[in-house]
């Protein structure tokens, strides 16, 4: 196939990366995950979805003459020459238990479970390190002023990689805190669907039972007929 030929012609540039301090030469353009595999690692910890959704692969890295500590997701970040990196295998974090039915959607229920939230010194480090580019500190501030809805929305894209919590001088566990905030918002601060209530009532009354029974018994020929006659909304 012609495609194969094109691949062969490509000259891949190699870069040096330092996985937990050891140097490996890997092709440029690979994600950190793929580069580690290329180097011979069988990934076990620090990997999950491999697509930026699960937060298992929080990674910290630095370059030789740069004081900055960079962060990213190993499945989404491409290696660069001179990268010193480590994927964090685990982020310890407290997770207080609660009964969501018994909570109120207000600041006082939150602060009882996560008293450390008031320790925020607003250094903004959490926002700076977030690989999802969430305004983490702003969301914490919204919680402090009792604006649960905004905090829930602002933190929505959190994948709980845990980097913010490791960097926080106030030792706040942002992602567990945000989880509570979002549930409070979803449960108490958003109106309930009336359509759903109505439909559940109809189902309970058995409104669709006969029709469904008929459908189950019908068989492929009839299903096909019905399927082909569908009116699309």
């Amino acid at each position: 196939m012609t495609a194969q030929k094109t691949v062969k012609k490509l000259k891949v540039k190699m870069v040096s990366i330092y996985i937990m301090g050891k140097e490996y030469k890997v092709p440029e353009g690979l994600t950190i995950h793929k580069a580690m595999e290329y180097a011979g690692y069988k990934l076990v910890r620090g990997v999950g979805c491999r697509a930026g959704f699960c937060g298992a692969c929080a990674t910290v890295y630095r370059f030789k003459d740069d004081y900055r500590l960079y962060t990213g997701l190993a499945c989404q970040t491409t290696v660069k020459d001179g990268m010193y990196l480590v994927i964090l295998p685990f982020v310890p974090a407290k997770k207080p238990g609660y009964d969501i039915e018994k909570l109120k959607a207000d600041f006082s229920s939150i602060v009882k479970l996560f008293p450390e939230v008031t320790r925020c010194v607003q250094c903004n480090t959490c926002t700076k390190v977030c690989p999802q580019e969430i305004q983490v500190m702003d969301a914490i501030q919204m919680i402090l002023r009792g604006d649960i809805k905004s905090a829930a929305e602002l933190s929505f894209d959190c994948i709980a990689c845990g980097i913010c919590s490791l960097r926080c001088p106030a030792e706040i566990i942002h992602y567990n805190l945000f989880q509570l905030v979002r549930r409070l918002n979803g449960k108490y601060l958003t109106p309930k669907s009336q359509h759903l209530v109505q439909r559940l009532k109809e189902i309970e009354e058995g409104k669709f039972d006969k029709e469904l029974e008929k459908l189950v018994k019908m068989g492929p020929e009839k299903w096909k007929e019905l399927y082909e006659q569908r009116v699309i909304e």
Partner: protein, 283 residues
């Protein structure tokens, strides 16, 4: 006129009535207060610590947010309403303007965000005085307040220290002038810049109770209709103290109004407040 506006945490919580009336009064006066899209706590007392610029980080970030949104306003003034927020933001702003090394240190830390020193922090009272003019307050006043006697209370932070004071630290008059411009009578209040007891209310209520009683004693004879405050914490302590000293005050429960509530009343903007307060004093 459009001004950027920093509400602060108190105004979003227990001092909601302060914020609502501030925005309404400003609007009546032709001022649009544009709330910052993003803001955080000013840092409160920790922002006042002077041993390390790091304590100022919260306040500086708010100044950066104002800077980011400057093109939406007609002026570089950032309007505050809570007097504590004013004090913190203004003093941090001053320090950075006068100490470029400090500004550099902070900018270095905040990088890539950077404060350029271009914001002026003001209190809403200053806007009313300087940009609108007290003489024009009379024009907007709809109610006849000539029978009303009002005692102003400044508390500490709006008039101290002198670097950020919005008026003479010892003999401020800005509230008195404001009151007079509505036609009401401003009662002389000798202890008007004494501290209300501040955060002690959390840990030592007895102390605050006594303090408030002492503050009120000199004006009790005046038969005032209400007190005017500029600060959420002062108001909280005054209201607490008045209740707690009910016996000592012979059952008199003097209402404490934010200056913006007072103006809202004068302008006839707040029916509910009018019912609660004005009818109580028989206007």
């Amino acid at each position: 006129m459009k001004y950027l506006y920093f509400p602060g945490c108190s105004l979003k919580n227990y001092a909601k009535r302060y914020e609502e009336t501030a925005v309404a009064v400003a609007k009546a006066l032709g001022i649009e207060l544009i709330e910052l899209k993003r803001w955080n706590c000013c840092g409160a007392v920790s922002g006042l610590a002077e041993d390390s610029v790091f304590h100022h980080i919260a306040a500086v970030r708010d100044l950066v947010r104002a800077q980011e949104q400057l093109d939406e306003a007609d002026s570089n003034k950032l309007v505050t309403v809570c007097s504590m927020c004013y004090r913190v933001l203004a003093s941090v702003n001053n320090r950075l303007k006068h100490n470029p090394e400090d500004l550099d240190t902070i900018n270095e830390f905040m990088s890539p965000e950077e404060y350029n020193g271009g914001i002026e922090v003001v209190h809403l009272l200053q806007i009313i005085k300087d940009d609108i003019g007290f003489d024009r307050i009379a024009e907007f006043t709809k109610k006849d307040l000539s029978n009303i006697k009002v005692a102003p209370y400044y508390g500490c932070v709006l008039v101290r220290p002198k670097e950020t004071a919005i008026d003479d630290p010892n003999e401020p008059t800005i509230l008195e002038e404001l009151i007079k411009s509505t036609g009401a009578t401003a009662v002389e209040n000798p202890l008007r810049t004494e501290c209300c007891g501040s955060y002690n209310v959390v840990t030592n209520r007895e102390l605050v109770k006594h303090r408030i009683l002492n503050l009120l004693k000199p004006i009790m004879r005046e038969n005032i209709d209400f007190l005017i405050s500029v600060c959420p914490l002062c108001t909280f302590n005054l209201e607490f103290g008045i209740k707690a000293n009910k016996k000592e005050l012979h059952g008199r429960e003097i209402p404490v109004l934010y200056f913006t509530e007072f103006l809202a009343l004068a302008f006839g903007l707040d029916d509910k407040l009018e019912k609660e307060v004005l009818q109580a004093v028989n206007i």
